[in-house]
């Protein structure tokens, strides 16, 4: 396909595609004349992946380059490549998390029997999130952290089962969108669950029907 069709298929404007080509985020197509190149499905998949990283994961092009570097590393198998790219989805915390929170993470990870790298960015991001709760005087207890971990473990198992394993860029796009875009889904569901429980327990919302066994 020509660049115009590539643009139509991927939803990426032609000037942006040309920029990615210059920046070597996208491979040059097959040259058919001095000014024209042909592109194929791999280019469509790569453009969709770049847009997912930029638009969905909110990454800078420099971090996109890092992720693509992992995905393109032919010496790593698909899951190694996806694992390295997944790691980059969590930003490094602005400052070092407290030792207490890092210990709480390690304890939870040991209790769950999880195998995660000691240097995992996700682990540091979790410790920073625990620090933020402690800082406002509302720390998360080890018991609550364990309950959370169990609940997300069930979620994650179902999610991982669905990753397509054909083309690397397609798999990576699925992983990025599935990880990042599903997050607001989970969070709004939790808020809805709060609303439901609060409504059932306290009947606080005038617009809802009280449960049948509650006439108050």
């Amino acid at each position: 396909m020509w660049i115009s069709e590539l643009s139509g298929r991927s939803g990426v404007p032609i000037p942006t595609i040309k920029y990615y080509l210059r920046e070597r985020l996208l491979d040059h197509g097959e040259s058919v004349s001095a000014t024209r190149s042909r592109y194929d499905e791999r280019h469509v998949a790569r453009l969709r992946l770049i847009r997912a990283l930029v638009d969905v994961a909110g990454m800078s092009l420099e971090r996109v380059r890092e992720v693509l570097h992992h995905i393109d590393d032919e010496s790593a198998d698909l899951h190694s490549a996806l694992g390295s790219a997944h790691e980059l989805l969590s930003a490094e915390p602005d400052s070092d998390p407290s030792e207490a929170s890092m210990d709480a993470c390690s304890q939870m990870i040991a209790d769950q029997g999880w195998q995660v790298s000691r240097q995992s960015r996700h682990r540091r991001a979790l410790a920073a999130a625990l620090d933020a709760m402690s800082d406002v005087g509302n720390p998360i207890s080890p018991q609550t952290l364990r309950n959370y971990a169990r609940a997300v473990d069930d979620i994650a198992a179902a999610e991982l089962a669905g990753i397509p394993t054909g083309d690397r860029d397609v798999s990576a796009t699925y992983m990025v969108t599935g990880t990042v875009l599903a997050e607001p889904v989970l969070l709004t569901l939790r808020r809805l669950a709060h609303e439901n429980l609060s409504s059932r327990r306290f009947g606080h919302n005038g617009t809802v029907t009280p449960p049948p066994d509650d006439e108050s």
Copy 2:
């Protein structure tokens, strides 16, 4: 206490406290002379709540004013007040969610037997999040949505049980920080769970020990 102690106790600088007083977000203290007022524990709690709404929930002062209005509504009981404030934690989506996603939400809510308002902001925010996944070609199936809903239901039940019910501002601060600050905890836990499962299933990470029954 004088304003200087109020500032120390709440962590809010004196000029900011004076601004909140002028904006009537904070009640004036007990006047003891033309230029001095005395403040009490209610002022400390109110300042902590305002800071939680601004710093944690990322609200504008206009939205803070709305939340405080609900909390101060003496005609509503505590849980009604908290419910109205909780609702304001979800932003209105930029554009109307699709009918298909609104229907998917309604179906899930019916399946779960949840009691949530038809006008709930959380419901519209969830539909918008579902639209975002469909837009990138990675829609969430009704089955996955149900699984997510079940998992967060367990989480939410434990969370709601812990809300303190004494002072309204203390309860509201707990609700805001517990809802908003716990979100990064859940999300990074999910990412860690992905890392663990991927590592166990595919042994992709050189730094982890392979499970005992996997010698490859």
